[in-house]
């Protein structure tokens, strides 16, 4: 039933609207494909098959989704506190430093000690990189959007310097650290081989995907089942009322940013410890920014974020396959398609709402 004008049944709000937006995004993308002289339906089929038509495809989709879940959750926690954290990219990148320091320097220790320590270090480094903008916002009023963007740049430059001067082994040409030879996080391929004797296709998917599941549950629990989460949401929804309630918005802003950064930092676990086994340049690869779209699309709810992250994982993997199969459709085209999805699902999220609301109001009459 339609309530107020502009108010829609829940299933329309969280089900139909995202699907409709996705459909239109694909339609426009299809048009672009048509213009460059390819068959859009065929392109779509290649993408879909490449992503979910094989175990290998699924492996990649889930691997991408793991990253997007971390960065999407990061954006959403800050968002619930009324903050727009654009700095997930920089926070994830900087967190790689923590993962690499522990991974490389504690190689002599057994994995049950090193891995948790490395995860912790990633969280702390990511949290630290978000804590500074949070602190500046709370105490000095510097706008979080500006500072987090700046910290993306600062982080990027700092990491180039550090990797080049501290981590790069003497004589190595590539700007990256040496390989972590001690403990790292096992990939599904290795697990299949070692424990089950099955030969899985080689994909970057590793056990970190379970960490993402834990993070999803953690964020849900934090926001809706703890006093801190209550305070975070109160500050985000109505700072005046929060002050009345004895909540200190400054404190909450700093804490929420630190948690947000910590979540983004977990992405480094996936990349540095799970996939690359070394620290290398630009390993975050834009996942921090995709996180913004994922959080928007997932309505800042952990469950929504899982779905949105999967969708973007699909687009990434399917897109890679597509550019491989159709040389006319370059990697850049894929970025355009992803951009369209972001545009329609995020920025134009509410574009079709009034129309739908009118339709539903009419159905009621």
């Amino acid at each position: 039933m339609a309530n107020a004008r502009g108010e829609l049944p829940t299933w329309v709000d969280i089900g139909l609207i995202p699907l409709l937006n996705l459909f239109i995004a694909l339609l426009v993308a299809g048009l672009v494909v048509l213009i460059i002289g390819e068959n859009p339906l065929e392109a779509m089929w290649i993408m879909l098959k490449g992503a979910v038509g094989s175990i290998k495809g699924w492996g990649y989709v889930l691997y991408y989704a793991t990253n997007f879940i971390f960065t999407g959750l990061a954006v959403s926690v800050a968002f619930h506190a009324g903050l727009f954290n654009i700095g997930g990219e920089g926070q994830a990148y900087f967190a790689g430093l923590g993962a690499a320091i522990v991974g490389l320097s504690l190689e002599f220790l057994p994995w049950p000690i090193v891995i948790p320590l490395a995860i912790l270090a990633s969280i702390l480094f990511g949290a630290f990189w978000a804590w500074i903008p949070g602190y500046l916002q709370a105490k000095r009023g510097s706008h979080i959007v500006i500072t987090t963007i700046m910290f993306n740049f600062i982080g990027a430059s700092l990491m180039v310097y550090l990797i080049n001067n501290w981590f790069r082994p003497v004589g190595k040409m590539a700007v990256e650290s040496r390989e972590i030879t001690g403990a790292y996080i096992l990939s599904f391929r290795e697990i299949g081989l070692q424990f089950f004797g099955v030969r899985l296709p080689s994909t970057p998917l590793n056990l970190t995907v379970f960490l993402a599941v834990i993070a999803v549950v953690f964020v849900w629990y934090l926001l809706w089942r703890t006093k801190l989460g209550y305070e975070i949401r109160a500050v985000g929804a109505n700072p005046e009322a929060a002050i009345y309630a004895g909540i200190k918005p400054d404190r909450i802003i700093i804490i929420a940013m630190a948690i947000s950064g910590g979540l983004a930092g977990l992405m480094a676990v996936n990349e540095v410890l799970g996939v690359q086994h070394r620290l290398l340049l630009e390993f975050a690869g834009g996942a921090g920014f995709v996180g913004i779209a994922v959080a928007l699309m997932g309505r800042s709810h952990p469950v929504g974020i899982v779905f949105a992250a999967m969708l973007f994982g699909l687009l990434y993997q399917g897109g890679a396959e597509l550019s491989f199969a159709k040389p006319l459709i370059s990697r850049d085209m894929i970025v355009v398609i992803q951009g369209l999805v972001i545009l329609f699902m995020g920025a134009l999220e509410y574009a079709f709402r009034p129309t739908l609301a009118a339709i539903f109001a009419n159905v009621e009459d």
Binding site: R225, R233, N238, E240, Y244, G246, E364
Partner: protein, 520 residues
């Protein structure tokens, strides 16, 4: 403060076709049946009052007329013609204007820009503005609606903002004007002025629909009055042929105590002592100026005053929201002023019902159960340590809703979806049930129906009789006079004097206006 009804009352000239006819309007929100087969006829050129308890469906009915909600069933006729009103745009085109309970103005815009908004007519704003300026001058002359067209709306007092809302509607050609609880936020003087304006509108042949909880206002300016109860229209009366008592009974369905019954106070030890309290705003103006008073256990101390004379700031200081510039707030022997921490102040045994329930008292996007723990959410009974036990939160809300008769009694409904009076009950329940030693309460019955007012007043007196201290701030002098054991009058940040409850209303009125023999 009594309304001074100084304008001449022209004999209403009702023409034959009614301005508005609502026929069999029906509306449900899920389980809530907000309007049940409501039919109402509004005569052209009249002021038509609508009264009813909180949640009776008054705002819903008017929102349907204004195109905000679609009725499930029913028909609307405007000037005898069947009308399909699908949006407020349609309503405006049919000559219907609405002034909402919460204003819909763009704060950083000027009055002129706000008035033109939505009626720009063309791409260029210049001509529209010039035309609007001329029109505004005419309206201001005809209806005593003076506002500076170039003032920034956000900087105007609420009374003037409301005038801008009225101007906006008239500018768009409103023949029928709906006002939803327009006086809730006004000072008595501003309310007087508003009624003069409404009287003039009527005399010029416009139709006014007025929703209010104040029966006195109904008696003073309406021609007809419709009473709603639980979604149904129970009666429409000619105002001259009814009485406050009859209306009250129709509204609530039983006899209502319009006077507060209370015994003599038995004041005990001093609970709150405010000493030379001063608070300066960022511009250095003393908004609370060297204020000293005490509140004892077992008494209600009322602070009277026209709004904006430092009462709000005083409440914020005592509740710890802001810190005093100088002076002390001693609560049960401890100086809580220096803490400036609402949470700590609560733990000491103070509860606070804030003046502004929309912006302070609850969080509209939270469900009722979450709003029902605001400020007390850290309590161990709601979950140990860091945990927040959802079940405990919902259960607490459920039982408080039952005890305070909140409708609908659904803890999972969003706070914003409760009617004003029910929101207030949620807040009161939250604060009263914590068994505070001192309750400070601002405007406890703003926008609340008479049945609920009776209930709230009873609870406040009960609290007093349990030996608790109550500090009451209200702009309703009647409320202050009937509840308080002692009355302090504030003007321009100072306490102008202290009176007891039996003292002359005029004398208190003079103190409120800053005229005093005994001011320091």
């Amino acid at each position: 403060m009594a309304l001074s009804l100084s304008w001449e009352r022209a004999e209403p000239k009702f023409t034959m076709t009614p301005a508005i006819e609502l026929i069999g309007i029906d509306k449900r929100f899920g389980a809530v049946h907000a309007n049940k087969d409501v039919s109402m006829t509004i005569a052209q050129g009249s002021i038509h009052g609508i009264i009813g308890e909180n949640g009776a469906g008054k705002s819903t009915l008017m929102s349907i007329l204004f195109g905000f909600y679609a009725a499930d069933k029913g028909e609307i006729k405007v000037k005898g013609q069947p009308a399909k009103i699908k949006s407020s745009f349609d309503a405006i085109n049919l000559g219907i204007g609405m002034v909402h309970q919460h204003f819909m103005l763009v704060d950083p815009f000027t009055v002129l820009e706000n008035v033109v908004l939505g009626a720009e007519g063309g791409r260029l704003i210049g001509p529209a503005l010039a035309k609007a300026r001329a029109e505004l001058t005419r309206l201001a002359r005809d209806y005593e609606l003076d506002v500076d067209p170039d003032a920034i709306v956000g900087e105007l007092p609420v009374g003037l903002q409301q005038r801008v809302e009225i101007l906006k509607a008239l500018f768009k050609g409103a023949e029928t004007l709906i006002l939803d609880e327009p006086t809730g936020v006004l000072t008595p003087d501003e309310a007087d002025h508003l009624f003069r304006i409404l009287g003039q509108l009527r005399d010029q042949g416009k139709t006014v629909i007025l929703i209010t909880h104040k029966l006195r206002e109904i008696m003073a300016i309406t021609d007809h009055v419709s009473v709603m109860r639980r979604g149904e229209l129970v009666a429409t009366k000619q105002t001259s042929q009814t009485s406050v008592e009859e209306l009250a009974e129709l509204m609530v369905g039983r006899r209502v105590l319009l006077r507060v019954e209370k015994g003599k106070a038995k004041p005990g030890a001093v609970v709150l002592e405010v000493k030379n309290l001063t608070w300066r705003d960022s511009k250095g103006t003393a908004r609370v100026d060297n204020v000293s008073f005490t509140v004892r256990a077992g008494e209600i101390v009322g602070i009277a005053g026209v709004s904006g004379n430092g009462q709000s700031e005083l409440l914020e200081l005592i509740s710890g929201i802001s810190k005093p510039t100088s002076g002390q707030i001693i609560f049960e022997g401890k100086d809580i002023g220096i803490l400036g921490d609402p949470r700590h102040v609560r733990q000491e045994g103070l509860a606070h019902v804030p003046e502004d329930r929309q912006h302070r008292g609850l969080i509209s996007s939270f469900d009722a159960s979450e709003s029902g723990i605001l400020g007390w959410h850290y309590d161990e009974s709601l979950g140990h340590g860091f945990r927040l036990d959802r079940e405990a939160v919902v259960n607490r809300c459920q039982s408080e809703m039952r005890e305070f008769d909140v409708r609908p009694g659904d803890p999972l409904l969003k706070s914003a979806k409760f009617s004003g009076g029910n929101q207030q009950k949620i807040i009161l329940a939250r604060e009263l049930k914590r068994n505070p030693d001192l309750l400070i309460v601002g405007q406890p019955t703003r926008g609340v129906d008479i049945g609920a007012i009776e209930f709230i007043h009873k609870r406040l007196i009960e609290l007093r009789d349990q030996g608790k201290a109550v500090l009451l701030v209200s702009v309703e002098l009647d409320e202050i006079r009937s509840l308080s054991d002692r009355i302090l009058v504030m003007f321009a940040g100072r306490i102008m004097g202290e009176r007891d409850a039996s003292s002359d209303e005029r004398e208190i009125g003079l103190l409120m206006a800053g005229v005093s023999k005994d001011a320091a």
